[in-house]
């Protein structure tokens, strides 16, 4: 009996979670390549913030950052070496690496993703009540 209550509670929690709408900004990129195993919060990279200040070329050509989210296996040691984020996040152009929480600001366990991308929205339609009802 207790077991079944537990199952129902966890099921309803899962349902509620799936129904919860993420309202992050279009182009917020969550990066969780190594954060989980290092037990730190994943990174939220606000793409929209950076494009106001720099063109695509500066990071995606000059700093060799690949276009696909999560495909750049960036480690903190690279950043300290002045590569990738470290080219600006050096304490002079932008805040330095000692401000861990400013970048590592996502909820623990968040998956690598581009928030509110159209693909994201399409896949989320699976949990849309109307779509779900038709499938039942």
């Amino acid at each position: 009996m207790f077991r079944s209550i537990l199952v129902v509670v966890s099921l309803s929690a899962a349902l509620m979670l799936s129904a919860m709408d993420v309202s992050a900004e279009y182009g917020d990129v969550v990066i969780n390549n190594y954060s989980d195993e290092a037990a730190v919060s994943p990174v939220v990279f606000p793409h929209w913030f950076h494009r106001i200040r720099y063109t695509c070329k500066t990071c995606h050509t000059d700093l060799n950052i690949k276009l696909s989210a999560g495909s750049n296996k960036i480690k903190m040691s690279d950043i300290i070496d002045g590569q990738y984020c470290g080219a600006c996040h050096d304490g002079e152009t932008a805040w330095g690496i000692e401000n861990c929480e400013l970048c590592h600001s996502a909820k623990q366990g968040s998956k690598t993703s581009v928030q509110r991308s159209e693909l994201h929205q399409m896949l989320k339609m699976e949990s849309h009540p109307v779509v779900a009802k038709k499938k039942r």
Binding site: S41, K57, C88, S105, E118
Partner: protein, 200 residues
């Protein structure tokens, strides 16, 4: 045996209560006067919580969030557009509202701009796609797209809308960080000579 029966009824109750919830929500919506109140695609932007604490991805317990710029602050002075960030980025650049730098170190560097429109003929009655190199080269380098994503040769690329929607080709940027593909007419902006129509 008994516990499994219990489980069955509890699950049924759960599903039913979910159904009831949906019906209640639907009733509330239809009670409103506006006929087109229901948004079929996504929440209206105005209804979204734009604080970083409540955006669903940031950790609300993070004390440093207040130091970060919020999207609404950043976009306040920029020209509006529907979809995506709600910002017309091209117009923002043309108007000089934003001046993104093409070089990390040289503040006076200018982008290498190529002004060449590529017209892609599209099947059916959809207007042709006009691809402007100008707006793209103001931001990107040639190597960003050529030759890995698009072969720089006429007729060499087979483009498809479904590939783009699945995050390939144009969809590598559009629909993720550049304006979304739901703005059909931004790309499909050429004139169409319809079959059967006589040329003037």
């Amino acid at each position: 045996m008994k516990s499994s029966t219990n489980l069955f009824w509890m699950l049924t109750a759960l599903v039913l209560s979910g159904g009831v919830c949906h019906t209640v929500i639907a009733a509330e919506t239809s009670a409103k006067d506006e006929a087109n109140q229901f948004n079929r695609i996504m929440k209206k932007d105005a209804l979204r919580d734009k604080s970083l604490q409540g955006d669903g991805i940031h950790d609300p317990a993070n004390k440093s969030l207040n130091l970060l710029q919020t999207p609404s602050d950043a976009f306040a002075s920029l020209p509006n557009a529907k979809g995506g960030n709600g910002v017309n980025w091209v117009k923002a650049m043309e108007d000089g509202k934003i001046k993104p730098r093409p070089d990390l170190h040289d503040a006076t560097a200018q982008p290498f701009v190529m002004d060449l429109n590529i017209v892609r003929e599209v099947k059916g009655s959809m207007p042709n796609v006009v691809f402007p190199h100008k707006q793209h080269t103001e931001l990107l380098d040639c190597t960003s797209c050529h030759p890995d994503i698009f072969i720089p040769q006429k007729g060499a690329n087979k483009l498809s809308m479904s590939a783009s929607l699945m995050g390939q080709q144009c969809g590598i940027c559009h629909g993720k960080v550049a304006y979304p593909m739901s703005r059909c007419s931004f790309c499909h902006s050429g004139k169409k000579q319809l079959a059967g129509a006589k040329k003037p």
